[in-house]
């Protein structure tokens, strides 16, 4: 296999890594857009998704298990996220940085709780047989490129989520109301929108998506109490790069970071690639400090 195949492989890997970044970051971006709040326990929603997948597959092993696990993890994580939102985050509505810290506390508690429940060592979800194999290209210029089915599946999940979200936001009334809350909470309430419910919906939705990401991670590796932590920092960087609350921006940022990370790994090791990822973001904001998709407004944001 030549270096061309290595690069092609890494580009493909980049898309799959980007899909994970995206699934991990979307929920963050949504609630950040709506409430200016970053949920530091978002990584634990991924973790929950993983454990829900594990539990589901204990009950329904085999090929069907994974397909059932997806909705189960979505609902489970969404419910947990909803609980977190109503009990804690809604109390801190006007103090975004404090929310960040409080949710970090929640993250510690959730990690320790899952350590007590499931043990510190990872549990394992077995990928169904229909995800064995993949596409191996043996001829032509892409010879040597292999597209494992698991990674194709991850990309498919991300695309599915993106389409769903776009439909909701652009073409439903709920989407409009959520965008209104996003922009002026006080006024939204005065026009008759139930702001807290919009928060709750977004939070559940975002957590649910993280739950899906957790299932996806479970196919790739162990489900551990700290599984969310390993993806959360890149997800934060995606949010930073994406621009406020924009799905398109988040998607583009995830793609850029995923591809950058994968391509960097051709030349440097994983550790250095992580460092370069931050350098990349800092350079990026020199050019586009408002993120990939900037929202223009005339407000003097004093």
């Amino acid at each position: 296999m030549d270096s061309f195949a290595l690069i092609s492989n890494q580009i493909f890997n980049g898309f799959s890594v980007a899909s994970i970044f995206l699934l991990a970051a979307l929920g963050l971006a949504l609630s950040f857009g709506l409430m200016r709040v970053i949920n530091m326990a978002h990584g634990e929603m991924l973790m929950l998704g993983g454990y829900f997948a594990f539990l589901t597959m204990q009950i329904i092993p085999g090929g069907m298990g994974l397909l059932v696990a997806l909705p189960v993890a979505f609902i489970g994580a969404a419910a947990t996220g909803g609980l977190l939102q109503t009990t804690l985050i809604s109390r801190l509505a006007k103090r975004p940085l404090d929310t960040l810290l409080a949710t970090w506390g929640v993250s510690l508690i959730l990690q320790q709780a899952s350590r007590d429940i499931f043990g510190a060592i990872g549990v394992e979800v077995q990928a169904p047989t229909w995800l064995d194999g993949g596409i191996q290209i043996t001829e032509g210029i892409f010879a040597g490129v292999s597209l494992p089915a698991t990674r194709l599946f991850i990309i498919a999940v991300a695309i599915f989520v993106l389409i769903g979200l776009t439909l909701i936001f652009r073409h439903t009334r709920i989407g409009l109301l959520i965008r209104a809350v996003n922009q002026d909470r006080m006024m939204a309430a005065a026009t008759g929108i139930e702001v807290k419910r919009a928060d709750l919906i977004i939070f559940c939705l975002g957590s649910g998506i993280a739950g899906l990401a957790g299932v996806v991670l479970a196919i790739l590796g162990p489900v551990t109490p700290s599984v969310g932590q390993s993806y959360i920092v890149p997800a934060f960087l995606v949010v930073v790069m994406g621009g406020l609350g924009s799905i398109a921006g988040t998607t583009i940022a995830a793609l850029m970071l995923g591809l950058f990370s994968a391509l960097a790994q051709i030349y440097v090791d994983v550790s250095m690639a992580q460092v370069l990822l931050l350098v990349f973001v800092i350079i990026f904001i020199q050019f586009r400090p408002q993120g990939v998709i900037a929202q223009k407004s005339r407000a003097l944001d004093v």
């Binding site: 009334r173 409009l176 109301l177 965008r179 209104a180 996003n182 922009q183 002026d184 006080m186 006024m187 939204a188 309430a189 005065a190 026009t191 008759g192 929108i193 139930e194 702001v195 929202q295 223009k296 407004s297 005339r298 407000a299």
Partner: protein
């Protein structure tokens, strides 16, 4: 005057943190009436409207709207009960288009209505039709003001709270807005509570007036009883 008031404030008070800004406000507004609320800067006029709307917390006393005690209702439920506000500073949703801004106003109808914008909004403010697909944040002040009123009307309210609707508006549009408010009151049968600095606007539209000073109501009467002298005293020339 056998009618029941559409809005009744009893002993209402409000505060920002430790500092109280409204003291024992009593006020009655009759259906299909317009009331002008006047007073110096900082006496608490905006706070009073926010407290009626429910976007500011009631500290004490009661708000009765259309015969029901709404004191403990959150803002969105008061909106659905039929209160609408055009706040000071307009608070347009900057990244929604004009049309979308108007559509958010439909939420106040809850499940009522057919989800369509009432035509009269565009009759009142033809300009909005021209800019309907522009983002609200890009409109000029006057355009935004019209949009804010339109958005409030989209929910078919029974009571419209207007906080300095002519602030920063060009003179001929002020006339339009005045006319629009008049239409809103007389033809759409919406009661109006309006904070206004321009005494002539109050004069032209309102049936009653209320003057505030330092968080208290100091005078309340029919506009017909207000002499020019009163007017100038109130605003303390």
């Amino acid at each position: 005057m056998s009618q029941n008031p559409i809005l009744q404030l009893q002993n209402l008070s409000a505060a920002y943190g430790q500092s109280q800004v409204l003291w024992d406000i009593d006020l009655n507004l009759l259906p299909n009436h317009a009331m002008g609320l006047i007073g110096r800067n900082g006496v608490g006029k905006s706070t009073l409207l926010q407290t009626i709307m429910g976007t500011h917390k009631v500290h004490g006393g009661t708000v009765i709207f259309d015969g029901e005690d709404v004191t403990s209702l959150p803002a969105h439920l008061r909106a659905r009960a039929g209160i609408a506000i055009v706040p000071q500073g307009r608070h347009i949703f900057p990244h929604l288009t004009v049309l979308e801004n108007l559509e958010t106003g439909l939420s106040a109808r809850g499940d009522r209505g057919n989800g369509k914008l009432p035509e009269y909004i565009f009759d009142l403010f033809p300009k909005l039709k021209d800019v309907r697909s522009r983002n609200g944040g890009f409109l000029s002040g006057g355009e935004q003001q019209q949009l804010a009123i339109g958005r409030a009307l989209a929910g078919s309210p029974k009571l419209l709270l207007l906080d300095e609707p002519t602030e920063g508006i060009q003179p001929n549009v002020v006339q339009q807005i005045e006319a629009a408010i008049h239409t809103i009151k007389t033809e759409l049968k919406v009661s109006v509570l309006m904070v206004e600095q321009r005494i002539e606007v109050v004069w032209n539209i309102a049936d009653q007036f209320t003057a505030m000073q330092e968080g208290k109501i100091i005078l309340q009467d029919d506009i017909a009883n207000m002499s020019a002298e009163d007017a100038s005293n109130i605003v303390r020339i």
